[in-house]
C-alpha cells in the first residue's frame, strides 16, 4: 500500500512541472473528453432505447397487419365453407340434384381457386359425396380416420382448422403432394330426402399462408415471424424443417400460451422479445421474435456513427482547446519571457498585451521594475555619497595630529633659531598640504603620492632629528599611475612610531614602488621591532585597537580607503617578523593617471567595475 502511495506521489511529482499552456490544454481536453464521453453514452442509450421501441413497434404493427390478412384469409375460407353448406348442400338433395351440387361447388371453387385446393363433401361413413375439382379419389384413403374428419365429428358445432398436412385424398397425375390446411365441419346433407350427417372439407392451399409469412420474413436482421396453433404446434416457421429435424428449436409451446401483447422470453440462453398476435376463429398465434442480438446488430451502425461524431467533435474541441489555451497562455508566456530576459540582465520592454488582467499584470511588473531601477540608482548614488563622505572623514583624520606636531616642531625650531630648518620644514609642510588638498581630489598620481610621502618624511626626520634613515626607491614608470592619496603617510607614520622610533640611529625606512604585472605595489619597510604573525593579522582587521602612538589613523582606514576606490581585491599586505622589521605594501591596480580615470574613480566606479 505504501509502495503504491509512493509510486502515485512520484507520478504526481513527475506530472506537476508543466507549462501553463499544457496544463490549460490538458484540463480543457480532459473536461471536453469527459463531457463527450457522457454525451456519447447518453446519446447511445437514448438512441438504443428509441431504436428498440421502434423495432418492437414496427414488429407489432407488422404482426397486426399480417394477422388481419390471415384473419381475412381464414374468414374467406369460412365464408366459402358457409356458402357451400348453406347455399349448395342445404338447398340440394344429393341423390336427385347431384349436378346442381357439383355446379354450385364448382362456382365457388373457381371464384377462389387461388387459395383453394379442394372442396369435398363426405358422408358420416367417410364416403365421398362430391368434390371440386373433380378428381379421382385414391384407393381407400381411409377418410374416417383422418384427423380433420375425426375432429369435425368430435365437436360438431365447430369449424376446425387443421395444422398443415399433405392432402391424402385425391390422385394427382402430376405426381404432386399438396400441403394444405383443412377446414372441416359437420354438415347435414340430404340424400333421397333423408337427412344425414356428413363432413364438409375445404382444403386451403398452404402456399397462401406461407406466402404471407414469407413476405414477413424477408428482412435479414435476425428477427422472424412464425405461426402456431393454440397448442404450440407450428403451422409456419421460416426454419420449420430444421426444427422438425432437431437442427434448431422454437419455444412455441410457451409462446402459444400468451395472449396478445409483448413478452420477454429466455430461450436457449438468449433473451428475446416476443410480439404475440392472436388470430381469431382459429386460436392460432402469430408470433414475432426479436432476439436481443437484433437490437445489438441494429445498433452497430449507430455505434459507429456516434463514435465518428464523438471523434469529430473531440478533434474539433481539441483544436478549439489548443486555440483557447494558446490565447490564454501566450500573453502570460510572453510576459514571463520578458521578465526572464530582465532577470538575465537585459533591459527588454516588459510585454503588455492580452486580456485586461494580463495587461494589468504587465503594467504592474513594468512599474515595479522602473521603481526598482530608480531605487537602485538612488541607492548607488547614496552609497557613492556615503563613500565620499567616509573618505573625506578618513582623510580629515590625518590633518589635526600631524599639523599640531609639525607646527609644534617649527615653533621649537624658530624659538631655537634654527630658521633654515624651520623654513625647510615649512616648505615641506606646504608641499604636503598642496598634495593633501589636490584641489579636493581623492585620487592622485603615484608620483604625487611619493612626493607627499617624501615631504612627510622630511618633516618627520627633522622632528626626530634624523634618528632614522629613509630611502625612496620607485620605478619611474609607476609614477604616472593612479593611487588613492595619502595612503603612504599613515604607513610611514606607523613605521616611525612602531618601527624605528627609539632605535638610536640604526632605524631604516625604505619606501619602494614597483609594478608587478597589473598591480602597482608601494611598500614601506622598516627594520624595527616587528611583530608576530598573529599581531600582523590583527592590524588590518581590528580597527577598534587603541593606538598607542601616531596620528591614530590606522592601517585599517588606509586599507578601507583603497578598497572603497579600487575594490575588495586590493588593499594592504603586511609581512612582519619580530625583531626583523615590518613591511606594509599597498597593492593597487595599474590604472593610468588620466583625467577620465581619475574622474571615474572619484565618482565611485570601482576599478574592477569598469573592466
Amino acid at each position: 500500500m505504501r509502495r503504491v502511495k509512493l509510486k502515485f506521489s512520484g507520478l504526481i511529482r513527475k506530472i506537476e512541472p508543466r507549462g501553463m499552456q499544457s496544463t490549460v490544454m490538458i484540463a480543457f481536453s480532459l473536461v471536453s473528453f469527459f463531457i463527450m464521453l457522457v454525451l456519447g453514452a447518453v446519446l447511445y442509450l437514448r438512441f438504443s432505447t428509441l431504436s428498440r421501441e421502434e423495432m418492437i413497434q414496427s414488429t407489432q404493427t407488422l404482426t397486426e397487419q399480417a394477422g388481419e390478412n390471415l384473419e381475412d384469409y381464414l374468414v374467406s375460407m369460412r365464408r366459402i365453407s358457409d356458402a357451400v353448406y348453406y347455399n349448395v348442400i342445404k338447398e340440394s338433395d344429393f341423390a336427385e340434384q347431384d349436378s346442381s351440387v357439383q355446379k354450385g361447388m364448382n362456382l365457388l371453387y373457381e371464384a377462389n381457386r387461388d387459395n383453394l385446393r379442394t372442396i369435398a363433401i363426405y358422408n358420416h361413413y367417410g364416403s365421398l359425396m362430391a368434390a371440386e375439382p373433380v378428381a379421382l379419389q385414391k384407393e381407400d384413403p381411409n377418410v374416417s380416420r383422418q384427423d380433420w374428419f375425426l375432429r369435425a365429428m368430435e365437436k360438431m358445432e365447430n369449424m376446425h382448422f387443421s395444422t398443415p398436412h399433405i392432402q391424402n385424398l385425391f390422385d394427382d397425375a402430376a405426381f404432386r403432394y399438396h400441403w394444405v390446411i383443412s377446414l372441416s365441419r359437420v354438415i347435414e346433407l340430404t340424400e333421397h330426402g333423408t337427412p344425414q350427417m356428413g363432413v364438409l372439407l375445404v382444403d386451403m392451399d398452404y402456399s397462401g399462408i406461407a406466402r404471407v409469412m414469407k413476405q414477413m420474413n424477408t428482412q435479414d436482421n435476425g428477427a422472424y415471424y412464425y405461426l402456431c396453433d393454440s397448442n404450440g404446434e407450428i403451422i409456419y416457421h421460416p426454419r420449420q424443417i430444421q426444427i422438425s429435424r432437431g437442427l434448431c428449436k422454437e419455444n412455441s409451446v410457451i409462446a402459444s400460451r400468451h395472449t396478445e401483447g409483448i413478452y420477454e422470453d429466455y430461450f436457449n440462453g438468449e433473451k428475446r422479445t416476443l410480439v404475440v398476435n392472436y388470430i381469431s376463429y382459429t386460436g392460432w398465434r402469430l408470433i414475432g421474435v426479436i432476439p436481443d442480438t437484433v437490437f445489438v446488430h441494429g445498433m452497430i451502425n449507430a455505434r459507429y456513427f456516434i463514435g465518428i461524431i464523438m471523434l469529430l467533435m473531440t478533434m474539433m474541441l481539441f483544436v478549439l482547446n489548443q486555440v483557447v489555451s494558446v490565447r490564454i497562455a501566450r500573453p502570460i508566456l510572453r510576459l514571463n519571457d520578458s521578465v526572464m530576459e530582465y532577470e538575465a540582465g537585459e533591459k527588454p520592454e516588459i510585454y503588455i498585451g492580452g486580456s485586461q488582467e494580463i495587461r494589468h499584470l504587465g503594467y504592474s511588473v513594468q512599474k515595479s521594475y522602473e521603481q526598482i531601477d530608480t531605487l537602485m540608482k538612488k541607492i548607488v548614488q547614496e552609497q557613492t555619497e556615503r563613500r565620499r563622505s567616509e573618505l573625506d572623514a578618513l582623510q580629515s583624520q590625518i590633518n589635526p595630529h600631524f599639523l599640531y606636531n609639525t607646527l609644534d616642531s617649527i615653533m621649537w625650531m624658530i624659538e631655537g633659531e634654527r630658521n633654515e630648518e624651520a623654513a625647510f620644514m615649512i616648505s615641506q609642510l606646504a608641499k604636503l598640504f598642496r598634495i593633501s588638498l589636490s584641489k579636493g581630489r581623492t585620487v592622485i598620481s603615484v608620483g604625487e603620492e611619493l612626493q607627499h610621502a617624501e615631504s612627510y618624511m622630511n618633516i618627520q626626520k627633522i622632528r626626530y632629528k634624523d634618528a632614522f634613515a629613509v630611502t625612496f626607491d620607485a620605478d619611474p614608470e609607476i609614477l604616472s599611475f593612479c593611487t588613492v592619496k595619502l595612503v603612504l603617510q599613515p604607513l610611514l607614520e606607523n613605521a616611525v612610531s612602531y618601527g624605528v622610533r627609539g632605535m638610536e640611529d640604526c632605524g631604516e625606512i625604505r619606501v619602494t614602488g614597483r609594478r608587478e604585472g597589473d598591480l602597482i605595489v608601494l611598500s614601506v619597510e622598516d627594520n624595527g621591532m616587528g611583530m608576530t604573525q598573529e599581531q600582523a593579522s590583527l592590524v588590518l582587521t581590528d580597527d577598534k585597537r587603541v593606538h598607542r602612538r601616531g596620528s591614530g589613523v590606522g592601517l585599517v582606514n588606509v586599507n578601507n580607503r583603497i578598497r572603497l576606490v579600487f575594490g575588495e581585491a586590493y588593499g594592504l599586505k603586511i609581512t612582519s617578523e619580530p625583531d626583523e622589521g615590518t613591511c606594509v605594501s599597498v597593492c593597487i591596480p595599474a590604472v593610468a593617471d588620466t583625467e577620465e580615470n581619475r574622474r571615474k574613480l572619484e565618482q565611485g566606479s570601482r576599478y574592477h567595475g569598469e573592466e
Partner: protein, 318 residues
C-alpha cells in the same frame, strides 16, 4: 512549446486515424459482408430427385449466410464434363464446391490442384481414388440396401425359396448402386431367393423385356420410377417392386400401390449438412471438413403419411 505542438499534432493524427478506421468499419458494415459462394454440381440438377437436396441447400444457405449456386447439368454427366464444370465454377468465383462424383472422375487430383474446399455429395469415391481425403455427405448406401432386404424379408418371411429377383439400376457403373446392391444381397444371403437378372436400365422397354421375376428391386430413383411406371401399367409381369428413391414421383408409385416399399434417403439433410460443413470451413475453421451420413426412412403405403414421412415428402415437394 514545440513539445506541446508535437503532442497536439500527434493526438490529432491519432484521432484522425481512429476516425478513418471507424468510417471504414461503417462502410464495410453498410456494404455488407461479401457472401461466400458455393457451387453445387450434381447430375441432372433440375431433376425431381434433387428437390429435397436443393431445399436443404437453400435452408442451409439462409442459415449460414452464404450464396449457393446449383449448376444446371444434363441428365448424364461424364467425368470430363464434371471436371470442366468444377474448373469453370472456381474460375467464376466459387469459394467451395459440392460435387456429386460421377464414376471415373478424379476429384482428388483436382482438389489437390485447386486447393478449394470440395465436399462430395451422395457417394464417396473409393478409397483408392480419394486416398480417404475427400469428405463426403451421403446416406448409408449399404444400410439402405440391407433395410430394403429387411423389408422384403418382413413381407415374405425369412424363407424366400422359390422366389426370383430382378435387380435394376439406372446409373451405369454407379458406385452408390453397387454398394446398395452389395448390402441388399448380403442381407438376403441364405434366404433362398434367386437373382435371375440384374441390369443397368435407361429405358422402361428394356425393363419390360426382362424375364418375369417375383420381386423387382430398383436401386436408385430413376430405376424405381421406371419400375413403378411398368408396374402401374402391369408390364412387370406381376412383380412386386421394392426400391430406393428420393423423389415425389417415386413416392407416388408407392402411394398408388405400384411399389410396395421405398427406402428414402434424407436428401434435405444431405444438402443442409454438406453446405453447413463447407460454410464452417469457409468461415475459417482450421480443421478438415468432416464426412457425415444422413439417415433414411423405410416407407410403405401404411406409414406414408406419418408426420415424419409427411415432412420428408414436404421437402421433396419444394
Amino acid at each position: 512549446m514545440v513539445k506541446s505542438k508535437k503532442s497536439f499534432v500527434f493526438i490529432e493524427l491519432l484521432l484522425a486515424g481512429l476516425l478513418l478506421l471507424l468510417v471504414s468499419f461503417m462502410l464495410r458494415e453498410k456494404n455488407g459482408k461479401n457472401r461466400e459462394r458455393v457451387s453445387v454440381i450434381v447430375e441432372d440438377s433440375e431433376g425431381g430427385q434433387w428437390a429435397a437436396f436443393r431445399y436443404g441447400l437453400r435452408m442451409a444457405a439462409e442459415d449460414q449466410g452464404i450464396e449457393v449456386y446449383v449448376v444446371s447439368t444434363p441428365e448424364v454427366l461424364s467425368p470430363e464434363d464434371e471436371e470442366k464444370l468444377m474448373e469453370r465454377e472456381l474460375e467464376n468465383g466459387a469459394d467451395a464446391l459440392l460435387v456429386q462424383p460421377v464414376p471415373g472422375m478424379e476429384a482428388e487430383s483436382f482438389w489437390k490442384k485447386t486447393r478449394a474446399p470440395v465436399m462430395l455429395i451422395g457417394y464417396a469415391l473409393s478409397a483408392e481414388e480419394t486416398g480417404e481425403k475427400l469428405p463426403v455427405t451421403q446416406p448409408d448406401h449399404d444400410a439402405m440396401g440391407r433395410d430394403l432386404a429387411e423389408a422384403l424379408l418382413e413381407d415374405y418371411g425369412e424363407d424366400l425359396t422359390g422366389k426370383t429377383l430382378g435387380i435394376v439400376w439406372q446409373q451405369e457403373e454407379s458406385g452408390a448402386a453397387a454398394i446398395r446392391r452389395r448390402g441388399f444381397e448380403e442381407r438376403l444371403e441364405g434366404s433362398g431367393i434367386e437373382v435371375i437378372w440384374a441390369v443397368s436400365c435407361q429405358e422402361e422397354s428394356l425393363l419390360e423385356q426382362q424375364p418375369r421375376a417375383s420381386v423387382v428391386v430398383a436401386l436408385d430413383d430413376g430405376s424405381f420410377i421406371m419400375a413403378g411406371v411398368c408396374a402401374a401399367e402391369n408390364d412387370l409381369h406381376g412383380a412386386v417392386v421394392y426400391g430406393i428413391g428420393n423423389s415425389a414421383r417415386a413416392v407416388y408409385y408407392l402411394d398408388t400401390g405400384a411399389a410396395k416399399c421405398l427406402v428414402v434417403p434424407d436428401d434435405f439433410m444431405m444438402g443442409y449438412q454438406s453446405l453447413t460443413e463447407v460454410a464452417g470451413k469457409l468461415e475459417g475453421s482450421s480443421g478438415q471438413m468432416e464426412s457425415s451420413v444422413v439417415r433414411h426412412s423405410v416407407m410403405r403405403r401404411d406409414n406414408l403419411f406419418t408426420k415424419e414421412n409427411q415432412e420428408l415428402l414436404y421437402t421433396m415437394s419444394q
